[in-house]
C-alpha cells in the first residue's frame, strides 16, 4: 500500500513515454493542421538547436491550413535570425515546447477515421451523455436558470458558495482567450463552417458538463473546516472504487490530475498570456519587440495573488469579468447590427461551410474537428476541470448543481464564442488577405482585434483591456484547478511548489510562439478528456438514477422555491 500512488504516477509516465516513442505518426496526417510540431522538425531541432534554422518560424508556417498537407513547402520561408541573448534563449525554450508537443500529439491526436483521437473521444462522450440523460441540456435549461437565480438556495446546505457563485467561478475559468482568440483560429483554419460545429459542440457539451459536475458534487469531500474538495480526481477514484474498479479509478484519477496540472500551465495559463499579449500589442507596439516584459508584468500580477495572498485583486477581477463579458457581447451585437443585411448570407456561408466545405479547410471532417476542438478547449465540457469549482456549491442534491453547470457551455460557447465567430465571418476577417499574417501564426487575438476595430473605431483598446482581464481571471481560476490536482498528488503542504511553477509558465507564455503554446494547451486540456470521459461513462448509470429521482421529485413539486 505504501508507495502505491508513487507507483501509479510512474506507470502513467512510462505509458505516455512508451506510446510517444513507439508511434511516430502525427496528427497532421489526420488533416488536422494546427498540430504544428512535426517529427522532422523536432529531430532537426534536437540535432541542431544551435544552428541558425528558425524552428519557430517553421512551426508557425506548418500550422497553415494547406489542403495538400504539404508541410515541406512551408520551410521555404526565410528563417529569422535570432538577435541577442534573450531572443536566442526564447527560441530554445520555444523549440523545446515544440518537441514536447510533437511527442504528445503522436498518441493523443492519433488519427482515427480522420479525427484526432482526443476530439473523437469528446464527441462520442457528448453524444452519449446527451442521449443517456434524455436531452437534459434542453429540458433542464429553465430549471438551471431558476436555480442559478437563487430560487432554490438554502444557506444551511453543506458547501462553500451559492449556485450562482459556483457558476461564476467556473465561468471565469472558461471565458477567456479561448472565446476570443481560439474561435478566430477555428474560423480561419476550419472556415465559416466550423462555427456550426462549434455551436453544436457547445449544445452537446452541456450534457457532458451536467454529468461530470453532478459527479463532482456526489463524490466531493467535506473537510472538518467546512472546505470542499472535489473534482474528477475524487469521482474517478471513489466512484470507480464503489463499482469494484479501484485500481482503474486510482489510475485514471492520477492520470487526470497530471494532465490537469499540465492544462493549468498551458491552456489555463501560457495560452492566456500569449494570446492576450497578441491583442495588447496591437495597441502597444513596443511590446511586440519586448514580449518578455508583458510576461514579467503578468507574472508579478498573478504572483501577488497566488503567493502574496492579496485576495482583493482576485475578488475584483472575478467581479469585473462578467461586466467585460457583457461589453464584449454587446460590441459584437453592435457589429452584427451594423452589418444587418449580411447576416442571412453569413448564416448561409456557415451552413454551407459546415456540410460542403471548401477543400482548403480540410474537408468535412477537418471543419467539424476544428469546431469541436476549439469549443471543447473553450468550454471544457468533457474535460472534467469545472467539476472542481462546481463541487464547492451549497446543495444537498448533486444533480441540482449539475443542472446549473450545463449553463456554462451555453454561455461560453453558444453565446460568447458564437459572437466572435459571427464577427469574424461577417467582417470577412477569415479570408481577408491583409490579415493572413495573423492567421498563419495562429494569432487569433489580433485577428479578432483587427476585425472589430475595423467596425468600431478604437475598439482594439477596449478589447485589449478586456482580454487582459479575461486572461487574468482565467489564470487565477485555473491555478486553483491545478493546485487542487497538485495537492491531490503531493499533499496540501506542497501547494507553494505548484505556485512557483505556475508563475514560470506565466512568463513562458509570453516568449513561446503562439502555435506551440496553443498546441501544448490543446494537448493537455483535450487530453484530460481521456481519463475523465472514460470514468464518467462508467459512472453515468449512477447519474442517470439520481437524475430520474431528482426530476420526478422536481416535477411533483416537492422542492419549494424561496420566492
Amino acid at each position: 500500500m505504501i508507495q502505491q500512488r508513487f507507483f501509479w504516477i510512474l506507470a502513467v509516465l512510462v505509458a505516455v513515454w512508451q506510446s510517444g516513442t513507439a508511434s511516430p505518426s502525427y496528427a497532421q496526417d489526420a488533416g488536422d493542421p494546427t498540430v504544428a510540431a512535426e517529427p522532422a522538425d523536432s529531430e532537426a531541432t534536437a540535432e541542431g538547436a544551435e544552428s541558425e534554422s528558425s524552428d519557430t518560424n517553421q512551426a508557425n508556417e506548418e500550422s497553415e491550413p494547406t489542403a495538400s498537407g504539404d508541410a515541406a513547402a512551408a520551410a521555404d520561408d526565410p528563417p529569422e535570425e535570432p538577435a541577442g541573448f534573450f531572443r536566442s534563449a526564447e527560441k530554445q525554450v520555444d523549440n523545446a515546447f515544440g518537441e514536447f508537443n510533437g511527442f504528445l500529439a503522436s498518441w493523443m491526436f492519433y488519427p482515427v477515421f480522420g479525427f484526432p483521437l482526443a476530439v473523437l473521444w469528446l464527441i462520442i462522450g457528448a453524444i452519449f451523455f446527451t442521449v443517456r440523460m434524455k436531452f437534459i441540456n434542453l429540458r433542464g435549461f429553465k430549471h438551471a436558470i431558476l436555480v442559478t437565480a437563487g430560487k432554490y438556495d438554502d444557506p444551511e446546505d453543506v458547501g462553500e458558495v451559492s449556485h450562482f457563485q459556483a457558476l461564476t467561478a467556473a465561468l471565469s475559468a472558461t471565458v477567456g482567450l479561448g472565446n476570443i482568440a481560439g474561435v478566430a483560429i477555428a474560423v480561419s483554419v476550419g472556415g465559416p463552417g466550423a462555427t456550426f460545429w462549434m455551436i453544436l459542440a457547445g449544445l452537446l457539451g452541456m450534457s457532458s458538463k451536467f454529468t461530470e459536475c453532478t459527479l463532482g458534487q456526489k463524490y466531493r469531500e467535506v473537510r472538518p473546516d467546512g472546505r470542499i474538495m472535489g473534482g474528477a480526481m475524487f469521482y474517478l477514484s471513489k466512484g470507480l472504487s464503489e463499482m469494484g474498479m479501484a485500481p482503474l479509478g486510482k489510475f485514471l484519477a492520477i492520470f487526470f490530475a497530471i494532465l490537469c496540472i499540465g492544462g493549468s500551465f498551458g491552456g489555463g495559463n501560457a495560452f492566456q498570456v500569449n494570446q492576450s499579449l497578441n491583442a495588447v500589442q496591437e495597441t502597444i507596439p513596443f511590446l511586440e519587440q519586448n514580449r518578455w516584459l508583458y510576461g514579467l508584468i503578468m507574472t508579478v500580477l498573478v504572483g501577488i495573488v497566488i503567493i502574496g495572498g492579496i485576495r482583493r485583486i482576485a475578488k475584483t477581477a472575478e467581479k469585473i469579468v462578467p461586466f467585460m463579458c457583457g461589453v464584449y457581447v454587446l460590441a459584437a451585437l453592435a457589429i452584427l447590427l451594423m452589418n444587418f443585411s449580411e447576416i442571412p448570407s453569413a448564416i448561409g456561408t456557415i451552413v454551407a461551410g459546415a456540410f460542403n466545405p471548401d477543400a482548403m479547410y480540410g474537408g468535412f471532417i477537418g471543419v467539424l474537428v476544428q469546431g469541436f476542438r476549439r469549443a471543447a478547449f473553450s468550454n471544457e465540457a468533457g474535460v472534467g476541470s469545472a467539476a472542481i469549482a462546481h463541487s464547492a456549491a451549497k446543495t444537498d442534491y448533486p444533480v441540482r448543481e449539475g443542472i446549473v453547470a450545463l449553463l456554462e457551455p451555453f454561455v461560453d460557447t453558444v453565446v460568447v464564442c458564437t459572437m466572435t465567430a459571427l464577427v469574424i465571418v461577417i467582417t470577412g476577417a477569415y479570408e481577408s488577405p491583409e490579415l493572413a499574417v495573423y492567421r498563419d501564426s495562429n494569432n487569433g487575438a489580433a485577428l479578432t482585434s483587427n476585425a472589430m476595430a475595423a467596425q468600431i473605431t478604437g475598439f482594439q483598446y477596449v478589447l485589449a483591456i478586456a482580454v487582459m482581464l479575461f486572461a487574468y481571471s482565467t489564470m487565477i481560476s485555473w491555478s486553483y484547478y491545478g493546485e487542487r490536482c497538485w495537492a491531490y498528488l503531493f499533499g496540501d503542504r506542497a501547494s507553494m511548489s505548484y505556485r512557483i511553477v505556475f508563475l514560470v509558465f506565466v512568463f513562458l507564455g509570453s516568449i513561446v510562439s503562439s502555435t506551440n503554446v496553443l498546441d501544448f494547451g490543446d494537448l493537455m486540456i483535450l487530453g484530460m478528456a481521456f481519463p475523465n470521459i472514460l470514468g464518467v461513462l462508467l459512472l453515468s448509470g449512477k447519474v442517470k438514477t439520481d437524475l430520474d429521482d431528482y426530476w420526478n421529485r422536481y416535477k411533483s413539486g416537492e422542492f419549494t422555491r424561496s420566492s
Binding site: R5, G226, A389, I476, E483, G491
Partner: protein
Amino acid sequence: MSWLPKSNIVVPIDFSDESEQAIRTALELADDPSHVHLVHVLFPLDSVSPGVVWGETDDTKREKAVNDYFDTYLAEKGVEGVRHTVLFGNPGHEISEYATNNAADLIVIPAHGYHGIKRYVLGSVAERVIRLSKCPVLVLRRHDQD
C-alpha cells in the same frame, strides 16, 4: 522522562482512525482529561478558490467549523473533558510551538501521515515534530505498517 502521570499532553489530531488511538493513549498517561490538549492544524487559506474569492470562507469560519467538528467527533467517541484548539500554519512547526507555549511535557502523535510519493516530497509531520519539539514525543506506530 518519567512514567508518572503527565500534567500537559499535546495530541495532534487529523480525525483519522489513528487519531482516536492517540487520544486514548494520552488519556491513559494524563493525570486528568483536562490536561490533554487536542490540536488540529489548518493550512493557511489560499487566495483563489471560489469560497475565498466570493468571501464566503475565512479563518474565523474555518476555526468554528473545526471546533464544532471536534465536539461531534469527541461525543461520538465518548471522550469527555479534553481541550481542543485550532492552529493555522505548517503542522510540524505549529504543533511544536504550541507544546512549548503550553509547557507540555509530552506530545503523542500517530506516525500514519503520508506515505508513497507524498512522504518523499514532504516528509512526515511526526518527523518534523520530533526535530522541533523541546519535550519528549511519543510516536505511535500505525497498525497496517509494512
